[in-house]
């Protein structure tokens, strides 16, 4: 099983985590209906490095993982709001 490093709790097997999908920012509320529908439904599905939500279940920690969806390698993980820190 793959390992993932929770920025608070350290390296754990993937079974301790819940995948929360890509980290996305919603368009402003005054966007067009089409823009909103695209935000709600569409995803950037092509492989590459993405920021994703992950949840460490035993501790209840949400964090962001920068992961290459092609190779499944995780570059780094951080708490939201602490992007700058390594």
């Amino acid at each position: 099983m793959k390992l993932l490093t929770c920025p608070v709790n350290g390296t754990r097997p993937l079974s301790e985590f819940v995948f929360g999908g890509e980290y996305r920012v919603a368009p402003p509320a005054d966007c067009t209906d089409a823009e909103w529908a695209a935000y709600v439904h569409n995803r950037s599905g092509a492989p590459g490095i993405k920021n994703e939500w992950w949840y460490h279940a035993p501790s209840g920690t949400w964090f962001i993982a920068e992961r290459n969806t092609l190779t499944d390698k995780v570059m780094r993980t951080y708490l939201k709001g602490q992007e700058g820190s390594k």
Binding site: M1, R12, E16, P58, S59
Partner: protein, 221 residues
């Protein structure tokens, strides 16, 4: 089973009539499962005991650390670490801003804290009624490697580290204690999972000639 107000969450795992029940700290617990000598051997090899009767207190929030210090509680400075005070009360820092405090068998810190006024922004009480377990004995690693996928050998653990992980598919909080030369693993899990986790681990313990130890024998109360 005598009716008192508090019952250990592990109770459902104890088949009726098994062992002798008693009230400790106001909670109904099994004070002894089998013959004391047998429990002593289990303790040496691989024992599992129910510590749910120990008083617990929790608080979280961005000012929780300060509030605890205001109450005169020594808190661990690092995230995910723990300290024991001179009386043996445990203070666990769960992540950065949440604390779990568990009394020593004869402690009453939690009662004091419960009475203190925690009502302020950034300090939130967290009720703690977890199943609280103790694992110990020379073969304890044999049990740990079956229920947990991370390395819990002493060499792999940081000093005073609090670990939040999963045991047999259940989220737990875990610490390792050295008490008078005896290695002890303390495990807390949601009370509703308590009976399951107890049964699973007690089963493995008995495969290694260990097993449950009554509260009375374990804590020399």
């Amino acid at each position: 089973m005598q009716t008192d107000k508090f019952i250990t969450p592990i109770a459902h795992a104890f088949s009726a009539g098994l062992g002798s029940w008693g009230v400790i700290n106001g909670m109904q617990v099994v004070t002894q499962f089998v013959d004391k000598d047998v429990e002593e051997i289990r303790k040496e090899l691989l024992g599992i005991a129910d510590a749910s009767f120990l008083g617990k207190f929790g608080v979280k929030g961005r000012h929780a650390a300060q509030w605890l210090q205001d109450q005169g509680v020594d808190i661990p400075t690092q995230s995910n670490s723990w300290v024991a005070d001179a009386d043996g009360n445990l203070v666990l820092r769960l992540g950065g801003s949440e604390f779990l405090i568990e009394d020593a068998p004869d402690g009453n810190l939690c009662e004091k804290l419960l009475k203190a006024d925690a009502k302020r922004a950034g300090v939130y009480l967290v009720p703690h009624v977890e199943a609280s377990l103790v694992l110990s004995g020379s073969a304890v690693q044999e049990l740990l490697v079956e229920v947990c996928s991370i390395d819990l050998t002493r060499a792999a653990l940081g000093t005073q580290e609090v670990i939040m992980t999963q045991f047999a598919g259940v989220s737990v909080v875990l610490i390792h204690q050295d008490l008078e030369g005896e290695a002890r693993y303390r495990v807390w899990c949601d009370s509703s999972y308590g009976p399951y986790l107890w049964e699973f681990m007690a089963g493995i313990a008995s495969e290694h000639s260990g097993g449950p130890i009554g509260v009375g024998n374990y804590f020399s109360l």
